[in-house]
Homo-oligomer: 223 residues x 2
């Protein structure tokens, strides 16, 4: 009984995966804007209406791809981390690994770090996968002796920083937490500017500049 039901569920799971794979393939070719449900169905040899049994709308398909993309870039960041050795080296490796993934999958990156596609509704499913890269960076700092940094921190930000220290379990002052958030912002700001063409005319091959930023931000957070 479970076997038969599983047979069906397995077929369903497989087809769901095939749809996502094909959609991701087309995403890489025509971007999110050009992704067409009908084209995906056509390529899979099925009729477009059948696809709605698996994804109730185009946006939901995109959301599924978004979650996958967050996990993929998060995994890339985690795998780039050697896990041991000098924290500074680990930090630089994570930065590089994150950028490498983004450059290899520009459309998927744009999907998650570009303009929000649907009506501004970032589903709840995305918040945990979205944090993976940031957590990889935090992890480097958790068992590290940071040179503590002083600095005035406004009450609102101080409160937010203290909440974060509890959630993340890191031992660092508010100024360090704020700097970590700035580094996180810098990481994705630089990748986005690079991929979206904002560096054209200034640091167009941005490799050297990106590596430089990674080093400076490592120092900036106290590494």
């Amino acid at each position: 009984m479970t076997a038969t039901r599983t047979a069906r569920e397995r077929a369903r799971a497989e087809l769901t995966q095939e749809i996502k794979d094909e959609a991701r393939r087309q995403l890489g070719e025509v971007g999110a804007h050009g992704l067409s449900l009908r084209a995906v169905a056509r390529e899979l040899g099925m009729v477009s209406s059948a696809l709605y049994r698996y994804f109730p709308s185009r946006d939901r398909l995109l959301t599924a791809l978004i979650v996958d993309a967050y996990n993929a870039i998060g995994e890339a960041a985690e795998k780039a981390d050697p896990g041991q050795g000098p924290p500074r080296e680990r930090w630089l490796a994570i930065w590089q690994g994150t950028r490498d993934w983004a450059r290899a999958h520009p459309h998927e990156y744009a999907l998650i770090y570009g303009s929000p596609i649907p009506g501004y509704a970032a589903p709840q499913d995305t918040v945990v996968p979205a944090a993976r890269v940031a957590l990889a960076l935090v992890k480097v700092l958790t068992h590290t002796e940071l040179r503590d940094i002083d600095g005035e921190v406004a009450p609102e930000l101080r409160a937010q920083a203290e909440t974060l220290t509890k959630v993340l379990g890191i031992i660092a002052g508010p100024e360090t937490v704020a700097r970590l958030l700035m580094a996180w912002t810098q990481l994705f700001g630089a990748i986005s500017f690079d991929l979206f063409g904002q560096y054209v005319g200034s640091v167009d091959p941005a490799d050297s500049f990106f590596a430089h930023s990674a080093r400076r931000m490592a120092e900036f957070v106290g590494l």
Copy 2:
């Protein structure tokens, strides 16, 4: 003769502007994704095909809006600059003014700093307006005594920095130029993260964090 020709050309210029205005209005409601040429034409009481006499394609209309948006955010940055007084105050004012504009026009901001809409072809018309915010920041530093910063700079980046010093006419070492580029990246990275919802769960009302970032980056570049 010029008067008669002007009559038509003026009508044309006016209608071109009206189309852009209406398109911008709809952009604010439904975003770039939902912007429809037919809807714009409908609202203006004309037929959709007539609109093609003014913009040869939807992408070209969007490109016109992109140029306008770059100029608008650039002007916002310039107007926020008091133009005199302590450089640090000017720097902070420009950061704030830029963010304020972005928060007031999120869809227009997404248009220029989100995922590139057309097939990755950022038209040449956009590069000059796109630099206005950065130039406003540079302007603050030009007649300022910066405490010079040392630091190793890789050859590629050093060459790019030296090209920039010539183009911009600023007197600063490569390390300072690199830091300026990082600050520029930080500014738009923070605005994008804020508007695109990436700060949800960490520094959600990002006002305090943004102000903090502005101050820290001012110090970072030597102000």
